[in-house]
């Protein structure tokens, strides 16, 4: 046993293992499970930070002409007289968006679960390059620290929106956040991209090279498929963001004019000529749109897995699910122009981007239908993870449908950059992806910490969050249709917006309550690490490989040999089998009573043996 038995994990440590120092085990760990935990906890902390920021600006929106001296007490000059300043409001919005999109839904979702699940579900002892994996986490942490630190600089954090469009983000005199704050934003994102690329290369090579015996691609769980495709999309798009960020850095610091031209800011004529901010928009959205799919794809995989396990049914249309993931991934790199319909781009191009964008709705619709069909005639267990998965599908339907408005160039003229967009992407990303992530945490917590989360708290958390999120985001669509632009500090200057102030109060209260509900989650999360009920080896009665490992975490995952895989991961409630699940490690020879002829594909020999067995046992195979 390790001598550093301070934390609960110490008791999991395998006694065969050599002693590890505390630092090596918990800090500079190269073990994929530990790195997954590091990603997850960092992301939870960042998510709370971003949540707090959103509550702050929601307060401003709901009570635009009330003073809150407490705010001045905490925020000092940014809330003089107890009111948040417009500049700071924009900074809050910006950092909220950046943290949520990049740190929570990208690193927190695919970072955590790629690290945890890829080796465990494909049957590998660790990542292909554990050290690179560790670096990936440390770059991520670095970028979180830099981003957070930008709150402490004199001129405030970046405030040009999470898209940081130049010239607003390029010229410090345009808004105070575009001083040092934006430099730090750029540095932080630069580090983040490095982290993503290191991680992505690792995930891809692990999946391609380190699958256990028998685990061919079509026997992989959908989680692995989705994480694999996510990593590929990330590798394709993140490098482009590097170029966007680096050129912006040059424009800011080296006096170049990639994005700048014809500027008179605050009466001062700037020397830049010949650049175009539109170039930045193209580069940014070439990453930006795939990025939103990087956030949702892992959630698709997770939800497929959770729905299937808890309905005790195979996922409906496994192949269709994989192909739709691929289709979405491919299409996601050619739709970026839908963020730029009204930038004055060539109308013909606008038409093309409308085409590609709306086509994505087809594979998305297929997914929604398949999820629903998975529930049909199931025997559904409502674990908290399952509820979050159902919630995710609900949000994905709601948000995907509003995509038909935003993706239609003509309608987008009216709703571009309004609250409608805010509502849309908070449904698909803010709610659907987030629920996917939460479903994953509830589902794999026993694997992460060897203990169970408290169900009752999980239910409270789910219901408050689910209802809260609908109350927060649903009304925003209507503001957008009415023509209220996003990123507005107050709705007080326009007569037509006054009617929305009452709705804003409703939204803020809903947000506060939903925010509070997260305390239930965090309490549950940290409290159960030590005090939760001890988990059994396979608490959900699932088929995949990670549940064949010991509860105790050991380096290398499996004590003896890595198990061999014989079947696909969705043999739930197979007729003829006594149990309602058959793990992937059970060979067909042990389940003669439930085998179907199509299980053998075109293996003549096996089919012959099965047919003989059927005849001997008078078994009539039911068509399915």
């Amino acid at each position: 046993m390790s001598s550093t038995a301070i934390t609960p994990e110490a008791s999991f440590q395998d006694s065969h293992e050599e002693k590890q120092s505390f630092i090596k085990k918990y800090v500079f760990s190269t073990d994929h499970k530990m790195i997954a935990k590091q990603f997850l906890i960092t992301a939870i902390i960042m998510a709370f930070f971003a949540l707090l920021l959103s509550i702050l600006f929601r307060i401003q929106l709901a009570w635009p002409d009330k003073d809150f001296p407490v705010l001045e007490f905490f925020l000092g000059k940014w809330a003089e007289g107890g009111r948040i300043k417009p500049d700071f409001y924009l900074a809050l919005v910006t950092i909220h968006g950046t943290i949520m999109v990049f740190f929570v839904l990208t690193a927190g979702l695919s970072g955590t679960f790629s690290n945890l699940l890829i080796p465990l579900q494909i049957g590998a002892r660790d990542m292909a390059a554990p050290f690179v994996n560790m670096l990936s986490y440390w770059f991520f942490l670095g970028s979180c620290v830099v981003m957070t630190a930008s709150f402490f600089v004199e001129s405030g954090p970046a405030a040009a929106g999470w898209t940081v469009y130049p010239p607003l983000s390029a010229v410090p005199t345009a808004i105070s956040g575009s001083g040092l704050g934006t430099t730090m934003w750029l540095l932080s994102i630069f580090m983040f991209i490095i982290s993503q690329i290191l991680g992505g290369v690792n995930y891809i090579s692990t999946i391609l090279n380190m699958r256990t015996k028998g685990m061919d691609l079509w026997k992989m769980p959908l989680t692995i498929w989705s994480l694999f495709i996510t990593a590929i999309v990330g590798l394709v798009s993140f490098p482009v963001l590097v170029s966007a960020v680096v050129l912006l850095f040059f424009d800011r610091s080296a006096g170049t004019s990639f994005y700048l031209s014809d500027l008179v800011i605050g009466g001062e004529i700037l020397p830049n000529e010949g650049g175009s901010p539109i170039l930045y928009e193209h580069l940014f959205w070439f990453l930006g749109h795939p990025e939103v799919y990087i956030a949702i794809l892992p959630a698709f995989g997770i939800v497929s897995e959770v729905l299937s396990i808890n309905s005790r049914k195979p996922i409906f249309g496994y192949h269709a699910m994989v192909y739709s993931l691929m289709a979405i991934a491919v299409l996601s790199v050619i739709v970026w122009g839908h963020h730029m319909f009204v930038t004055g781009m060539n109308p013909f191009l606008g038409g093309v981007f409308m085409l590609t964008t709306l086509i994505i709705a087809i594979p998305s619709a297929v997914k929604a239908f398949n999820y629903t069909a998975t529930l049909w005639r199931g025997n559904i267990r409502f674990t908290p993870a399952m509820l979050f998965a159902i919630g995710m599908v609900s949000f994905f339907i709601s948000g995907g449908l509003t995509g038909l408005f935003t993706g239609n160039a003509t309608i987008d003229i009216q709703i571009h950059d309004t609250y409608f967009i805010v509502a849309h992407f908070h449904f698909v990303m803010g709610s659907a992806s987030m629920f996917g992530m939460l479903a994953a945490v509830y589902h794999w917590y026993p694997k992460l910490y060897g203990r169970m989360l408290d169900n009752q708290l999980g239910y409270i958390h789910f219901w408050l969050t689910f209802i809260g999120a609908y109350l927060v985001f649903f009304p925003m669509h209507f503001m957008g249709i009415d023509g209220v632009p996003r990123r507005y500090y107050a709705f007080t200057e326009f007569p037509f917006m006054e009617k929305w102030v009452s709705v804003n109060i409703l939204i803020t209260w809903a947000a506060v309550i939903a925010g509070l509900a997260q305390i239930a989650f965090v309490w549950n999360f940290f409290y159960s690490m030590r005090n939760g009920k001890k988990a059994s080896k396979n608490p959900w009665r699932a088929t995949t490989l990670e549940w064949t490992t010991e509860v105790k975490h050991i380096h290398g995952n499996w004590e003896g040999e890595i198990p061999t895989v014989y079947r696909w991961p969705y043999d739930y409630s197979k007729p003829g089998h006594p149990d309602d699940f058959i793990p992937q490690t059970v060979p067909h020879s042990e389940t003669m009573s439930s085998n179907l002829l199509q299980d053998f594909h075109d293996n003549e020999e096996a089919i012959k043996i099965q047919k003989e067995w059927n005849k001997e046992n008078n078994r009539v195979e039911s068509e399915s």
């Binding site: 607003l168 025997n379 309608i411 003229i413 009216q414 009415d482 509070l516 239930a520 309602d580």
Partner: protein
């Protein structure tokens, strides 16, 4: 036991948040002070030098300036002590805080400004803590009752997982009903608030596209939720049932790929046709339209009409000066008759073509009632051509609101004043429009002539570049 502790904690945070957002109670007093102060300020302008003239503690500040500073500090310290003791002593009851807070407010007028803010914040925090204690007590009692109930059930052997599971299923159905009711409510109420018919020709096309999409998506939204949540309920865990092994159905899958495909294709075609009609304006219609130029800057819009010659004079951002804030190059004679307008005024039923420019950063030219939006991007000109179909007067009648105005606002984040960057848009009849045009002033004012005549002289002597340079 986990729940007990947790709920205590939860209610703590709940209290903080509630107090955060509804703190009126804590400084009702200071607000009343405030209004009195404002009256005073209006009377005595001596205060204006004060940095924090706009803050709510003006009275205190004024007093502090006159009073002895040392005593002030002492008072402030006392104050803070009070607050801290109150904060530490969580067990004390509400009456005590109120007592201490009234005490403080009687002292506070002598305070130095900053200290007052601090003490006020502390006061508020104390108030939150109290709120928390009360609420947590209530929550704890409820929680105790609930857990005892559950315990008795477990002991009587009545507790079952199936039952607990079914509760969640029932909740999902309750949610479904609330959800559908909510959708109905929001369409009926908020939908009505938000949707006004477009007041332009192309806008009516966009509206029909919008309505078709809304109808389609609402049907799908409702059906899919009924299926999703309905299945969840119907197929909830039951002890003697087994789920059916149903891994795929090719026919079904083909149907639900092809149906969306057909629907989307028609949406795409319909959308493309409208899109093309809006932006592919034939050359002759472009030229025959009324031309208007708008220039966005932090945080206002300038509007330029081309004047009788129908053409704008050149603009060169390098010529921007405090007097020539538009940066018009008056060496171009076409600029001499250009008109500066304070509002956007356009005649009804005539095509207008907006030239959209930006002086500094990206703005967006957005008129919601017209279904018009186009970014104003520095270094390039964007265009939007449309035909208004309704005058402001007609709109006011329709809305039954004599104050109603069409408004153009900025929809692209552009800094501090982004939320208030507007221009009134007035649609009038043709004759009113002509009359209004005649009343507008030229950009080429006497000041401007002076500024440029110098330049013109230089221009004759020197090269054009040096003229620009001298301006810079």
């Amino acid at each position: 036991m986990l729940q007990n502790r947790f709920k205590l904690f939860l209610s703590f945070i709940l209290a903080i948040f509630i107090a955060f957002s509804q703190p009126s109670f804590a400084w009702v007093q200071s607000e009343t002070n405030n209004s009195q102060e404002q009256e005073q300020t209006e009377q005595s302008s001596s205060n204006e030098e004060d940095e924090d003239a706009e803050e709510q503690d003006e009275e205190e500040t004024e007093d502090a300036e006159q009073g002895d500073e040392e005593t002030d500090e002492e008072a402030a310290e006392e104050n803070e002590d009070d607050a801290e003791t109150a904060a530490v002593d969580e067990g004390s009851d509400e009456s005590k805080t109120q007592a201490s807070s009234s005490e403080k407010s009687s002292v506070s007028p002598q305070n130095d400004n900053e200290d007052t803010v601090t003490s006020q914040a502390l006061k508020t925090i104390v108030y939150y803590i109290f709120l928390f204690i009360i609420i947590s007590a209530v929550v704890a009692i409820f929680n105790r009752i609930f857990s005892i109930y559950k315990l008795t059930q477990v002991m009587n052997g009545k507790y079952s997982y199936i039952k607990e599971n079914s509760i969640q299923a029932v909740l999902l159905i309750v949610f479904l009903i609330l959800f559908l009711a909510g959708v109905y409510y929001s369409y009926a109420v908020w939908g009505k608030w938000s949707f006004r018919k477009a007041a332009t020709e192309h806008g009516q096309n966009i509206d029909s596209m919008f309505i078709v999409t809304t109808v389609l998506t609402t049907i799908v939204l409702v059906l899919m939720h009924i299926l999703l949540l309905g299945f969840s309920y119907v197929y909830r865990l039951k002890p003697n049932r087994r789920a059916s092994f149903y891994p795929h159905n090719n026919t079904l899958e083909i149907i639900w790929t092809v149906v969306p495909f057909v629907v989307l294709t028609s949406l795409i075609i319909y959308g493309s046709v409208i899109w093309k009609r809006i932006f592919d304006v034939p050359e002759d219609l472009k030229n025959s339209a009324i031309q208007i130029e708008v220039l966005g800057e932090q945080f206002s819009w300038q509007v330029r009409y081309p004047g009788p010659d129908g053409e704008f004079g050149k603009r060169n951002f390098k010529l921007t000066t405090p007097t020539n804030s538009y940066g018009i190059d008056f060496n171009d004679k076409k600029a001499w008759d250009d008109l500066r307008a304070s509002d956007i005024v356009i005649p009804v039923n005539r095509p207008v073509r907006f030239h959209i420019l930006s002086k500094d950063i990206i703005h967006s030219f957005y008129i919601p009632d017209f279904r018009v939006q186009m970014n104003a991007v520095p270094g390039m000109t964007n265009y939007f051509q449309f035909t208004p179909t309704m005058t402001t007067e007609e709109m006011r009648e329709k809305m039954d609101d004599p104050e109603y105005d069409f408004i153009m606002l900025c929809a692209k984040i552009c800094g501090t004043g982004h939320y208030n960057m507007q221009k009134k848009v007035v649609v009038v009849t043709e004759s009113e429009y002509q009359q209004w045009l005649n009343e507008q002033n030229k950009f080429f004012t006497d000041d401007m002539k002076k500024e440029f005549s110098v330049n013109e002289n230089i221009d004759k002597d020197d090269s054009k570049e040096s003229a620009t340079a001298s301006l810079n």
